[in-house]
């Protein structure tokens, strides 16, 4: 009996390309690419079937550093190009990578439609609230008052929330991760990949050069416990150093409030249990902002539905099934024809 030698198990480093990484030293992107390589190894993903497609920006350099297929395209259009690739070959496992400007400014329309259509791919939005590659202008996610080369006395326009945008577009998988959380990020990536349909992941990414520390208020060591909540399906929404804080619906109001177990007669039974299939809950979780409420991290919404690529492929299969192998000669001769002698 022949025993096939199993192919050597791929390590995280096997998913790293031979290209020299060109991000600024200390950039959050390093952590994300590392987490992705770990994810790939854990999944034993087939590098020849994995494709990273990106637009333009610091984040968009990502595909160059993965030892998979990669396509670094044009500003804002990665979602559209990825949609075409997925339609052409649904077997490919496609990851789109974009920054906040790429995804929500110039490419906002395409992000809207890739999520609405529910194309089966993963969309990773590296949010650093700034334009890095063009040297620090404020972005569509920058908070009001952001001082930048183009807004020297502070920006005046309201930022967009990537996750609320995604939910509004009809995304059926919405998650959040933090660049530095190397244990958690691969878990989020794995969930995103196993979700069938468009999976949207916002990653809080620190731009050490132009927007350093912009997320410190919930990612700093001392801030994490009280300002982040790790949401998990079926588990109570608890946070705080000793998990003594929880989220509940404020009695008599349609809003979420933070409570402390043991205070004012609050018990764990009062605390909401996370239901990732509940879009209303997901919307409220995405809207939470420290310090009043913690930043929700993890899989906030996951509610699979029919995908665009499957629907389209089914129509082609159906059309092919209807007749025998189609003949163009026959098609051209269908309908009125006449013969000239």
């Amino acid at each position: 009996m022949n025993v096939a030698t199993p192919p050597a198990k791929l390590q995280a480093k096997d998913y790293a390309s031979d290209q020299e990484v060109r991000w600024c030293p200390g950039c959050g992107d390093y952590a994300i690419v590392r987490a992705m390589q770990v994810t790939m190894a854990e999944l034993q993903a087939d590098p020849s079937k994995t494709v990273f497609i990106s637009g333009i920006g610091c984040a968009a350099r990502f595909p160059y550093y993965m030892a998979t297929y990669g396509f670094h395209t044009i500003h804002g259009r990665a979602a559209a190009i990825a949609t075409g690739a997925k339609i052409a070959n649904p077997e490919l496992d496609i990851w789109v990578v974009g920054g906040d400007g790429d995804s929500l400014s110039i490419g906002g329309n395409h992000l809207l439609h890739v999520l609405r259509r529910n194309v089966n791919l993963q969309y990773l939005l590296f949010n650093n609230e700034i334009y890095g590659l063009t040297k620090g202008q404020y972005s569509p996610t920058s908070r009001v008052g952001t001082k930048s080369p183009s807004t020297p006395v502070g920006s005046v326009d309201n930022p967009v929330s990537p996750t609320l945008f995604a939910l509004g577009c009809g995304a059926r998988f919405v998650a959040r991760g933090v660049d530095t959380n190397q244990k958690h990020l691969p878990e989020v990536f794995k969930r995103a990949r196993s979700h069938i349909g468009a999976s949207f992941v916002e990653i809080f990414q620190n731009c050490i050069v132009y927007n350093d520390g912009v997320y410190d208020y919930f990612t700093e060591k001392d801030a994490v416990a009280d300002n982040q909540i790790m949401v998990e399906h079926g588990k109570p929404l608890l946070y705080g150093k000793d998990k003594q804080k929880g989220l509940r619906v404020k009695p008599g109001h349609f809003e979420i409030e933070s409570v402390t177990i043991g205070e004012n007669g609050i018990t764990e039974a009062d605390v909401l249990v996370h239901d990732e299939t509940n879009k209303m809950l997901a919307t409220m979780l995405c809207a939470m902002q420290p310090p009043a409420l913690p930043m929700a991290i993890g899989v906030i919404y996951c509610n699979p539905g029919p995908t665009y690529d499957e629907g389209l492929a089914a129509q082609v299969t159906e059309a092919k099934r209807a007749g025998a192998k189609p003949s163009l000669n026959e098609l051209l001769r269908k309908g009125p024809t006449w013969t000239i002698e």
Partner: protein, 618 residues
């Protein structure tokens, strides 16, 4: 009314060719009437060409001049090359149609007018102060003023349609009358009506009754004194024929091209007039390994097509000028990463929105020059509805052989027009199957073929060939990103040489009519083919030394073109733009060409080209 006193039943007069124009409100069924007349005429063995002309508004207010839709057909017992300069017969379903089209009808021409629609209200809407049928303004024309509306209502009474539905049958009444006028068989239209209204036989029967009544009206009653005609079948090359529109030609050609390349097609489009019809047509051809995708915008359509090519299908996108402008950045990426892509431009009058339903050929600069940086690609142009088929195949061949985007230029005129087409046996057409790269040894994504300079096509999913490509300049020897000066020079050169080198793989330019060398060459591209060809034939019949050259390959141009052009004393270039091909020809070959330009949204008339040639003959 001139000649109306004659009462003898006359013999049919033989005529060589005839131009009929139907005109009325968008809702009058003018296009359907024209389509049926076309098919019947084709089945009668005539050669023909058509020109459907629509208003831009979908349902313009009824009775207005800007809501007039028309359909012209030119048919004959000789070879027909254009839809005709002037109508011999104008069927005007309302005063507005008469107002818009009367100026094109020569004196002596026939005008069939539905007096039932010449109400005070409609006359006023069309801008008439008095009824042109009753005052003397139609003197010199043969006017058949008939209350078609009333006659139609009478004919369909027995079928119990609503007043509105009954009036709708009047186009078939008029068609029946024109069928009588030219001795056409009504069976084809009868069958078509039965099929079309299968679920509502009373509508089919009403329309057939209206058509028969119109025919009978001509044959037996009031018109028995009118001259009727016969047009003998044309001497056309023997074979099996059908009619084809430019859109059909493009769709079938793209299918044939992708089959010859052995690739599935991914077609991505965004609704735009007049290119959308290609999306509609291809979306019904899924069985031919065609996936169609209606994208969120023009940029996404081009992006998705490019993404599909990246994944190993042939990506195709289509639009008209403004949409092509939006696609241009993605086309630049396709040039940079050297992936095949076919971009169909169904040109229309511009700039900006311009006149979306009117034709023009003014996107040649955009195609050849319209990108940032040194970004060459191939450009081909179709000349007629049936030529769309062959040009589409050529576009696919160049795109896949040379790993390059190809712009295929058509225009609104040929897209909607139809002509008889000798149906090819596609099994005998050349094949050019794509060979994807699979060899790991020595692989990098920018390995090139020595002869074509095309890079290898290694598609995602191929084991062991993982690689990254992108818009950043690539190292010539590895495909890795490179900002090195010499390398950029080398890559820019190779991209240019690759496109220039396509000239070695396309046929030499032939002379369409006439010979190399001589007095005058008339050089054209696109849908001006018909009028130029007829004008040149006419001039030669008059003993003038005039030849016709018509380009399919706009970029790169055939290798012999420069020498060929220089062999004539004068070169005339008629174009439906202000002189774009002429710029390219002067730039390439230093030949001083003479422009003949028209930008009215209407195709050239034969006489306009003849006049232009005559002026140069001195």
């Amino acid at each position: 009314m001139e000649g109306s006193t004659a009462v003898d039943k006359r013999q049919r007069e033989e005529v060589e060719d005839v131009v009929v124009r139907f005109a009325g409100d968008s809702g009058d069924g003018v296009q359907i009437t024209g389509g049926q007349f076309t098919l019947t005429t084709a089945l009668a063995g005539n050669d023909l060409a058509t020109f459907p002309d629509f208003p831009a508004e979908i349902r313009a207010p009824t009775g207005t001049t800007f809501g007039v839709s028309s359909f012209q057909i030119h048919f004959g017992s000789r070879e027909i090359r254009t839809a005709g300069d002037q109508p011999d017969v104008l069927v005007a379903f309302n005063p507005a149609a008469l107002k818009v089209h009367l100026k094109d009808v020569p004196k002596g021409g026939m005008i069939i007018a539905d007096t039932g629609a010449f109400t005070d209200r409609n006359l006023k809407k069309a801008g008439f102060t008095t009824n042109p049928i009753e005052d003397n303004s139609l003197e010199g024309y043969r006017v058949l003023a008939i209350d078609i509306t009333k006659n139609t209502l009478e004919a369909v009474k027995q079928f119990g349609l609503s007043q509105k539905e009954a009036v709708r049958c009047k186009n078939m009444w008029a068609l029946g009358l024109v069928y009588w006028l030219y001795d056409r068989d009504r069976k084809q239209t009868g069958d078509w009506l039965t099929g079309r209204y299968g679920k509502r036989p009373e509508i089919a029967n009403s329309n057939i009754a209206a058509m028969n009544a119109g025919h009978a009206y001509g044959e037996t009653t009031e018109l028995s004194g009118e001259q009727s005609y016969r047009v003998q079948p044309a001497k056309i090359k023997s074979g099996l024929y059908r009619t084809v529109t430019g859109i059909e030609g493009l769709a079938y050609g793209l299918v044939q091209g992708t089959q010859a390349a052995d690739l599935p097609m991914t077609f991505a489009g965004y609704p735009i007039t007049p290119a959308s019809a290609l999306l509609h047509t291809l979306s019904r051809l899924k069985a031919f390994d065609v996936v169609t995708f209606q994208a969120e915008d023009e940029i996404a359509a081009c992006g998705a097509a490019l993404g599909a090519s990246y994944a190993g299908n042939l990506g195709v996108t289509a639009s008209s000028g403004p949409g092509i402008a939006l696609k241009m950045e993605a086309i630049g990426l396709a040039i940079g990463v050297e992936l095949p892509l076919v971009i169909v431009n169904v040109q229309r009058a511009g700039p900006s929105t311009g006149m979306p339903t009117k034709t023009e050929q003014s996107d040649l600069y955009q195609s050849v020059y319209g990108r940032n940086a040194d970004a060459p690609l191939a450009v081909v142009a179709a000349r007629s509805p049936s030529d769309c088929f062959y040009t589409a195949i050529e576009a696919v061949r160049i795109a896949t052989t040379f790993m390059t985007p190809v712009i295929l230029l058509a225009d609104g005129y040929m897209a909607n027009a139809s002509e008889p087409w000798e149906i090819p046996d596609v099994d005998t057409l050349p094949k050019f199957p794509v060979k994807f790269h699979t060899e790991k040894e020595g692989f990098h994504p920018f390995l090139r073929d020595d002869k074509t300079l095309a890079r290898v096509w290694a598609k995602p999913g191929t084991p062991d060939l993982q690689h990254r490509i992108g818009g950043i300049e690539k190292n010539y020897n590895s495909g890795d990103i490179s900002y090195e000066a010499d390398n950029h020079q080398k890559m820019t050169d190779v991209r240019k040489n690759k496109i220039d080198g396509i000239a070695n793989f396309i046929p030499e330019q032939e002379v369409e009519i006439g010979q190399a060398g001589g007095e005058i060459a008339v050089v054209g591209w696109g849908s001006t083919f018909g009028p130029i060809s007829r004008a040149v034939t006419n001039m030669r019949a008059q003993g003038k030394d005039v030849s016709q050259i018509h380009l399919r390959h706009i970029w790169p141009m055939p290798k012999n073109l420069g020498a060929l052009l220089k062999s004539y004393k004068k070169v005339i270039v008629p174009e439906m733009n202000t002189g774009q091909l002429i710029t390219v020809l002067r730039d390439r070959y230093m030949v001083d060409c003479i422009g003949l330009n028209k930008v009215s949204g209407q195709p050239f008339k034969i006489t306009e080209i003849e006049d232009g040639i005559r002026k140069q003959l001195g």
